[in-house]
């Protein structure tokens, strides 16, 4: 049978040109197959075509299954309502959605990934919102259904920070689960916390100055996590009664529109020249300080012309007075006149009641010490000042925070600043009530025997020691006293704290308590002694206990407090009923 002639022009023109040559290379196997199988009959050709078709279909299906995703037809977008997002403010963002699928969808749930610092206040519709998971349960939506969702809350973040709110919508489209992702991106433009700062223009090295920082909540949300960061390096800062923790001062609640003024005292540390005084406001979220605003002042720190050195003569404060040694010198080039030192205690527990100084160059008016002469350039002077205090209250682990306000004139200008004396820890308010009783404070008879005491008849008294402590913990507390030779230890006692012992050799009674709490407590020791007056005691008022002392180690000041107590006699002044009946009488 003669070969059929192909009418295919490609085949017909085989061998002509590069493309043709390349095509020829590709077609060669087909030509061979054709020669073998297709030439005489079409069966193999159509079988091969069928096989090829099947293979192509399989590959296509496989590729579709692996790579093809159904395209969701759902519109989801969100944006903040306000043009500028302000940290610390209440703002609202809205999310718009629409079902663009060809048919209804079911079980639509929109999850919001909010910044950790965002505080949700409300959501609308509230009924759809779960504030634990931050999700809106949209449920089933008809084809073409659309709506808006709103979230209102307090935005918190650092000024300039970019934040994201992620939107993740999942829904059921027939048997297929579909997902739509989007996000709201916004920048924090500014903060509601506005700062203003008042300081003097200049400061003296080592000399404290007073300033004020004002912080205002210009937003519409109450803030309870605002704080100020006061400068730590170069400056020593205290903020009065406000607690500073490593430069961080937590502010009380700031209502919308409210301002708070925080006075502070700052002392430039070593180094002269221009120094920046920077105050920042932050919002504290999860122990992280989010910077809100900042204000700075450049202050010129110079050495004061008047150099003042203060030193307390005692290491701790006790009682109601203390001695302060003052040395001052004029480091400037002009005379200093009208030099006045005024003394105040910055702690409310003790106030300065008066001062005194022995030096003739000084005059005292109220709590101020005036240096009468002119202090020439380069001249030095000194004074010992006794400062008397009046207790206004009690505090635990208290200290004197004496401030000396200095005023003087130099070159026609007035200078006024204050310096701080070294802090002086105050010893605990430790005292002992010590007395003998025949009748207790409420009339119970404790003693036995004749009152007034009589010759040859024993009279028993009870000695009661009560320790009172307020301020600091006291350790190694002891009270002791000696029995005169004609007073007998009866070995009867009653304690509510500590231990009592009597040494017959030294005739010493000793009461020890390991620790007295700084807030006080019941610390009492009572014991009985007896005296048998002799004939030679007739008409006298004998001692019952002498050489009385108490001491204790103040754990805060590390000072030992030791005091003497008055001898106790048969006059038992503490006993309201029997006081004064101490003179020995005769038996009959």
């Amino acid at each position: 049978m003669p070969a059929k002639t192909s009418k295919n022009p490609l085949i017909a023109s085989a061998g002509k040109g590069i493309i043709i040559e390349k095509l020829n290379i590709l077609i060669e196997p087909l030509k061979a197959r054709h020669e073998r199988h297709y030439k005489d009959r079409y069966f193999h050709f159509w079988a091969d075509m069928l096989l090829a078709g099947v293979l192509i279909a399989l590959v296509t299906t496989l590729a579709w299954l692996l790579f093809w995703q159904p395209r969701p037809d759902f519109s989801l977008e969100g944006h903040f309502m306000s043009a500028r997002v302000v940290s610390g403010d209440v703002d609202e963002f809205v999310i718009n959605y629409e079902n663009e699928e060809g048919r209804p969808i079911g079980g639509a749930v929109l999850s919001l990934e909010l910044p950790k610092t965002f505080v949700v206040q409300s959501a609308a519709p509230a009924v759809l919102f779960d504030n634990k998971s931050n999700t809106f349960a949209l449920g089933d939506l008809d084809k073409g259904a659309k709506g808006s969702l709103r979230i209102k809350g307090v935005v918190q973040g650092e000024t300039g920070e970019r934040q994201f709110i992620g939107l993740n919508l999942m829904y059921q489209y027939g048997q297929i689960k579909k997902q739509v992702l989007n996000s709201i991106v916004y920048n924090i433009d500014s903060s509601v916390l506005e700062l203003s700062l008042e300081t003097p223009g200049a400061a003296y090295e080592g000399v404290s100055f007073n300033g004020t920082v004002e912080v205002k909540n210009s937003g519409n949300a109450a803030l309870n996590n605002a704080a100020l960061v006061l400068p730590k390096s170069d400056w020593q800062i205290s903020a009065g009664e406000n607690a500073l923790n490593d430069g961080l001062l937590k502010l009380p609640d700031l209502l919308p529109g409210e301002s708070k003024q925080i006075p502070f005292e700052a002392t430039p540390l070593q180094g002269l020249g221009e120094k920046d005084f920077v105050v920042e406001s932050v919002l504290i979220v999860d122990d992280t300080n989010l910077l809100q605003s900042k204000i700075a002042r450049r202050l010129l720190v110079t050495a004061p012309e008047l150099n003042v050195a203060l030193d307390f003569k005692n290491k701790v404060f006790e009682g109601n007075e203390t001695a302060l040694s003052m040395t001052f010198s004029n480091k400037g080039t002009s005379d200093i006149s009208d030099l006045i030192f005024s003394f105040t205690n910055k702690r409310e527990t003790m106030s300065v009641s008066r001062i005194s100084s022995e030096k003739n160059d000084f005059s005292v008016v109220n709590n101020s010490l005036t240096y009468q002469p002119v202090l020439s350039a380069g001249q030095e002077a000194s004074a010992d000042v006794t400062i008397y205090f009046e207790r206004q209250g009690n505090a635990l682990n208290d200290f004197l925070n004496l401030a000396v306000s200095i005023k003087y004139k130099m070159d026609g200008k007035e200078f006024n600043y204050s310096i701080a004396a070294p802090r002086l820890k105050i010893n605990s308010n430790l005292s002992v009530n010590s007395g003998a009783y025949y009748y207790g404070p409420q009339g119970d008879q404790l003693g036995i025997g004749p009152i007034p005491p009589k010759v040859d008849i024993p009279t028993t008294y009870w000695i009661i020691w009560e320790a009172n402590n307020l301020g600091n913990d006291i350790a190694e507390f002891e009270v002791s006293g000696d029995l005169p030779s004609n007073v007998v230890w009866l070995d009867q006692q009653s304690l509510v704290a500590g231990g009592l012992s009597y040494s017959p050799i030294g005739r010493r009674v000793l009461w020890k308590v390991d620790k007295l709490s700084q807030t006080g407590g019941n610390y009492r020791a009572s014991f009985a002694i007896s005296i048998v007056p002799r004939a030679e005691d007739l008409g006298k008022i004998p001692d019952l206990l002498s050489n009385l002392n108490f001491s204790g180690l103040d754990l805060y000041t590390e000072a030992r407090i030791s005091k003497k107590l008055a001898n106790i006699t048969t006059n038992i002044e503490n006993d309201r009923q029997a006081a004064g009946k101490g003179r020995v009488e005769s038996l009959e």
Partner: protein
């Protein structure tokens, strides 16, 4: 051997009722009370330990005998009868059948004692003498005593007018042998004594174990068959030379060796003024009586013997005698002579000044507490003393100063005041302190294991520690080794096995978790929460049968920080009742104790505010307020602890309120 044993048992059994009669605590009080009393007097009469009343009371007040026996199981009742006299009742013996019976018999038998003229002898107006030497009379009389005066209701008999000499009965001589002529006085007296002794013998033989008390003669022949005598108008004017020494010698020395046991002696003092207020005379007699084991009575004398006078000293429970009598001025001699005599008792001392002059005595190492009296307040002023001044012929009863609080948990070192149910202070306050326990620790002195020895239980460092004979034998850490807070505890024998269980709860810090342990420290009940589990103010515990069901209830009072709730729970922790002890706003904590404070046989709950004013409140089990008072100055703001204990040994509880801040 068996026969001897049986006889011994019979003797003891026969003797036992009389042994039971004898009271062994002091003072022993008698009333020689001869009026025909009424039912309204029963209660008062029942206060005395020995009563001599008219024999006719078996007819006039038959109900009195059961009444008295119920209230005074160890009391002694003796009928007043003459040994050989009888009243002449001009109007007949209507209502006095017993006497009529005797009179008729004496008449029929002509047993009168007559003078030489044959007249009946009347030693006192309208009282005729009977010839005791007449055997028929004695036979009749003993039979009469046996059959007619209901001896089953009495503990013996008291014979009045027991004279050893009767010569003074008549100026016309006495015909003792009824031969129509007067006999010599010595013969009369001798025969009289023989007759009287014979009467005693016959009566004693008839009475068996019951007692004969005679008023009153110490003559030798009368003693072997009597149990004792009355020393009327003490010191008895007709005893020896009428001195104190004469009466006391018979009372303390001679007669106890002569009389039958049990000895019954009655020192009967007489008011010199005729009124109750002769306190010194009363004290003189009472203190003298306390030198021996006799009874004391005080009245207006032998003309009336009809007073119900009661004295502050009578209420002092001296307890058992701890010594015999001794002379403070001459300790080496027990010769009964004028002196300053003392006798010691469990709870006090008695001292009598029989020196004839005022005495001042200083106790070199002792201290006592005078009675806090309501009568002679200057003398019994409640003060503590280490010396006494006693006027001539005076005596004093004083209490020993006891400062241990027994069977009630107390804070060591507290100053404690003692009150009665009405809030009246009973004695001087004292420091309750044990040097063998830590200051301010809770301490309990109680016999936990029924061995008769008092154990000491204390809490310390989160542990309950039981000390026996001074050694720590049990240590319990109910809340683990890390718990170091204070504990509240109480003890009670819930299962009636003789061993007390220990109930414990945290007193500060820790939850209100109550646990129960045995006396040996074994946990019996892992416990239950009595208040909200989160409450950390502590629980104050007490235990007692407050609802009279025979079982102990746990009483839990809230500590500081919650309303002042007191809960009553069963041993298993089931709440039986609950009430507020103070105002609903008070959250300062409540201390609590349980005991019978009003002597009505039921336990009350006593609460003390743990902080703030010293306010004591007394409740019944239903939370009804029964009483309240301030234990200290109301301005004392440190609160009080409360305890219940019998501090003076009189068998009645007092309320103790303690404070740490003195």
């Amino acid at each position: 051997m068996l026969r001897k044993l049986n006889i011994l048992i019979l003797l003891i059994a026969g003797f036992f009722p009389v042994l039971v009669l004898a009271k062994d605590t002091y003072p022993k009080l008698a009333n020689y009370y001869l009026p025909f009393f009424r039912q309204a007097d029963y209660e008062q009469l029942s206060k005395w330990d020995l009563l001599i009343i008219q024999a006719d009371m078996i007819a006039y007040n038959p109900g009195f005998f059961d009444y008295y026996r119920t209230r005074k199981p160890d009391g002694i009742l003796l009928p007043y009868i003459y040994s050989s006299l009888i009243h002449e009742e001009r109007n007949g013996f209507g209502g006095l059948e017993l006497r009529g019976m005797v009179y008729d018999a004496v008449n029929r038998g002509n047993w009168w004692l007559r003078d030489s003229s044959g007249n009946k002898i009347q030693p006192w107006p309208e009282i005729s003498a009977i010839n005791v030497t007449n055997r028929d009379w004695r036979n009749f009389y003993v039979n009469y005593l046996k059959n007619d005066i209901r001896l089953d209701l009495w503990d013996g008999v008291m014979f009045d007018v027991v004279d050893a000499e009767i010569g003074h009965y008549s100026r016309n001589g006495i015909d003792i042998d009824a031969n129509g002529s007067a006999d010599a006085t010595s013969t009369v007296n001798q025969k009289w004594r023989e007759g009287m002794a014979a009467l005693f013998l016959q009566t004693k033989t008839m009475l068996g174990n019951k007692v004969i008390v005679a008023n009153g003669n110490s003559v030798e022949s009368y003693q072997p068959n009597t149990n004792g005598r009355i020393f009327e108008r003490f010191p008895t004017p007709w005893e020896g030379n009428g001195s104190w020494q004469a009466s006391m010698y018979q009372y303390l020395k001679r007669l106890p060796t002569k009389n039958k046991t049990p000895n019954i002696y009655i020192i009967n003092g007489t008011s010199r003024s005729g009124v109750a207020g002769d306190h010194r005379q009363m004290r003189y007699g009472l203190a003298s009586a306390l030198m021996g084991d006799g009874y004391f009575s005080f009245d207006n004398g032998n003309s009336t013997h009809g007073q119900l006078w009661w004295y502050d000293e009578y209420d002092v429970a001296l307890g058992r005698a701890e010594s015999s009598y001794y002379n403070l001025l001459n300790n080496n001699s027990d010769y009964v002579e004028p002196g300053l005599w003392r006798r010691d008792f469990e709870n006090g001392v008695a001292i009598v000044n029989a020196t004839g002059k005022d005495q001042l005595y200083i106790f070199p190492r002792e201290q006592f507490e005078k009675i806090k009296g309501t009568q002679d307040r200057n003398f019994n002023d409640g003060s503590k003393v280490n010396y006494v001044r006693l006027s001539v012929n005076d005596g004093i009863i004083m209490r020993k100063i006891k400062q241990d609080i027994i069977a009630s948990v107390f804070p060591n070192g507290n100053f404690v005041r003692v009150f009665n149910y009405s809030g009246a202070q009973q004695r001087n306050g004292f420091f309750a302190y044990r040097p063998d326990a830590l200051p301010n620790a809770l301490v309990l002195l109680e016999d936990l294991d029924n061995d008769g020895a008092r154990d000491r239980i204390t809490e310390q460092g989160g542990q309950i520690i039981v000390y026996r004979s001074g050694k720590s034998t049990v240590r319990i850490s109910p809340y683990g080794a890390n718990f170091k807070g204070k504990l509240s505890f109480a003890v009670y024998d819930f299962n009636k096995d003789g061993f007390k269980e220990i109930v414990v709860a945290p007193l500060s810090s820790g939850g209100p978790h109550v646990k129960i342990y045995s006396a040996t420290g074994k946990m019996l009940n892992p416990g239950f929460f009595v208040f909200d589990k989160n409450f950390r103010g502590g629980v104050n515990l007490a235990i007692g049968d407050v609802n009279n069901d025979g079982k102990g209830e746990i009483i839990a009072a809230a500590g500081k920080g919650m309303p002042s709730t007191i809960k009553i729970l069963s041993e298993q922790g089931r709440t039986l009742g609950s009430f507020s002890a103070y105002d609903k706003n008070f959250r300062g904590g409540v201390n609590v104790a349980v005991g019978d404070v009003d002597n009505d046989g039921k336990n009350e709950l006593v609460a003390g505010a743990a902080t703030g004013g010293p306010h004591v409140r007394i409740f019944d089990y239903a939370g009804r307020l029964r009483g309240q008072f301030m234990a200290y100055d109301p301005k004392t703001g440190t609160g009080i602890s409360v305890m219940i204990a019998d501090t003076d040994g009189d068998g009645k509880n007092e309320i103790l309120a303690g404070t740490a801040s003195f």
